[in-house]
């Protein structure tokens, strides 16, 4: 059982949509995050704010999407600071091995780095525009909303197996598009 019972309760409330709690935590966690980032990385105020908002957003998204679940292996505030560290370290392009805390190692693969997402977002938006319907909606239902094929099938009134086949056909179509359209080359955006 986690030793962070209170924080486990916080995660549960956030997952259930308690936005007032999130806003309170956003204020409460800020001072320690700022102190740590300035002391460890000598960040300026604007940079700390950007990192904090990114880290807090990732924490929220991870809870909402079930990537951060109870029992926690660290306090929630430590988790946010841990994300901030990773963001900063990736930005500095330093050896990540100096981040020796085990929970941070676990964290690293659990989220997309906000400062790196602008390009990815542009790329995926272009893909969806090019591929058009019904693939765009199908992929968004599958990857943005996280729906199972059964739900997608019910939504567009087709068999589950058909939804599954259409979905993978769309993936194949994307591969072809990338191959034929230089503007969709992911290396231009990532």
């Amino acid at each position: 059982m986690s030793t962070f019972e209170t924080d486990n309760e916080l995660v549960k409330r956030i997952r259930n949509g308690d936005e007032a709690l999130l806003r309170k935590l956003y204020k409460v966690y800020a001072a320690e995050f700022k102190g740590y980032m300035i002391k460890r990385f000598n960040c300026d105020r604007q940079e700390v704010l950007a990192l904090y908002q990114d880290a807090f957003s990732v924490m929220w998204q991870n809870i909402h999407e079930g990537k951060l679940v109870e029992p926690l292996s660290s306090k929630l505030q430590t988790y946010v600071i841990g994300i901030g560290k990773i963001l900063k370290m990736r930005e500095l392009d330093k050896n990540k091995r100096i981040l020796d805390e085990s929970f941070i190692t676990e964290l690293e693969s659990s989220f997309t780095i906000a400062s790196e997402t602008a390009g990815v977002r542009i790329w995926i938006t272009k893909i969806l525009q090019k591929i058009g319907e019904p693939c765009a909606s199908l992929l968004q239902q599958r990857y943005e909303k996280g729906w199972e094929f059964e739900i997608i099938g019910e939504e567009i009134d087709i068999e589950t197996g058909t939804a599954r086949k259409r979905h993978f056909d769309c993936i194949r179509k994307i591969r072809k598009l990338i191959e034929t359209d230089p503007d969709l080359n992911p290396d231009l955006y990532l």
């Binding site: 806003r23 956003y26 204020k27 800020a30 001072a31 700022k34 105020r45 700390v48 704010l49 904090y52 908002q53 990114d54 807090f56 957003s57 990732v58 929220w60 998204q61 909402h64 999407e65 079930g66 990537k67 659990s110 989220f111 997309t112 906000a114 997402t117 602008a118 990815v120 977002r121 790329w123 995926i124 938006t125 893909i127 992929l139 968004q140 990857y143 943005e144 599954r164 086949k165 993978f168 993936i171 194949r172 994307i174 591969r175 990338i178 191959e179 992911p186 990532l190």
Partner: protein
């Protein structure tokens, strides 16, 4: 990339999805990574799928980030909140300090407090000297003096105000009538009684009567009057040096800044 990529089956793409999901099964990981090592096209499909998932994760991330950004700068807020808490604490301390000083001044320097302070000191200093006659010494015939001795000042007032001027202890009676008025807080009556009989009183009880009158003036809020100023400088010749210093002390305390504030 080449045409071979199209040989990948739905099952292959499904396997890639499982591999890239949160906490993939060990068997899935082994299968995918083994195949990636021997099948470049499969590896390319895995990498592309990872990019697609990252792209959609970025799309999902956007509303969270926008919402959090709309909450503003909590760093600034936290500093203000910290200062705010200090400001509230300082205000409370300041308020307690002001109230405490006011209360202390009120207790120490109000007209009544000042009069009571010197009146009480005067009781010890002066009229314990035995200069006056007691009711017992007069055979307990005068009930008013007896009531005064017992501390029953309302009865003493009623009885002493009717004492016959021909009585042998009339002087003591009018003096103790003044004291009784003072004791019950009727300072104006004490002043009027003592002043109207001043010539009689001063024959036997000059110093204690003077002190009583001074204190009655202060308690009645009449320390600014000309009569009081005359009284406090015309100290009876019989007064001791200690008594004279007390009068100077009273004059100094009447001018104290805290007394001026609480008045």
């Amino acid at each position: 990339m080449n045409e071979n990529k199209n040989y990948l089956l739905d099952e292959d793409y499904e396997l890639i999805e499982l591999y890239l999901a949160q906490n993939p099964d060990v068997e899935v990981v082994n299968r995918v990574e083994t195949r990636m090592n021997v099948d470049p096209d499969f590896e390319q499909a895995v990498l592309l799928q990872k990019k697609l998932l990252d792209g959609f994760a970025a799309l999902r991330y956007k509303p969270y980030k926008e919402k959090v950004a709309s909450w503003g700068d909590p760093m600034q807020g936290s500093v203000l909140q910290l200062y705010g808490r200090y400001a509230v604490a300082a205000s409370i301390v300041l308020a307690i300090g002001i109230f405490g000083t006011w209360y202390y001044s009120r207790v120490q320097y109000s007209d009544t407090a000042l009069a009571q302070k010197y009146f009480t000191a005067g009781e010890v200093l002066s009229w314990s000297s035995g200069a006056t006659m007691s009711a017992q010494q007069q055979g307990s015939s005068e009930a008013g003096l007896d009531a005064f001795q017992k501390g029953n000042y309302p009865d003493a007032i009623e009885l002493l105000k009717n004492v016959d001027t021909t009585s042998g202890f009339y002087a003591e009676a009018v003096f103790k009538l003044g004291l009784s008025h003072f004791k019950v807080g009727d300072y104006d009556a004490a002043i009027a009684g003592l002043q109207s009989s001043w010539d009689i009183i001063r024959q036997s009880d000059k110093v204690p009567a003077h002190l009583t009158l001074v204190c009655a003036y202060i308690a009645a809020g009449k320390s600014d009057t000309e009569a009081f100023q005359q009284l406090i400088i015309n100290i009876p010749a019989e007064a001791t040096e200690v008594y004279k210093r007390k009068m100077e002390e009273i004059q100094a305390e009447l001018k104290h800044p805290l007394r001026v504030w609480v008045r």
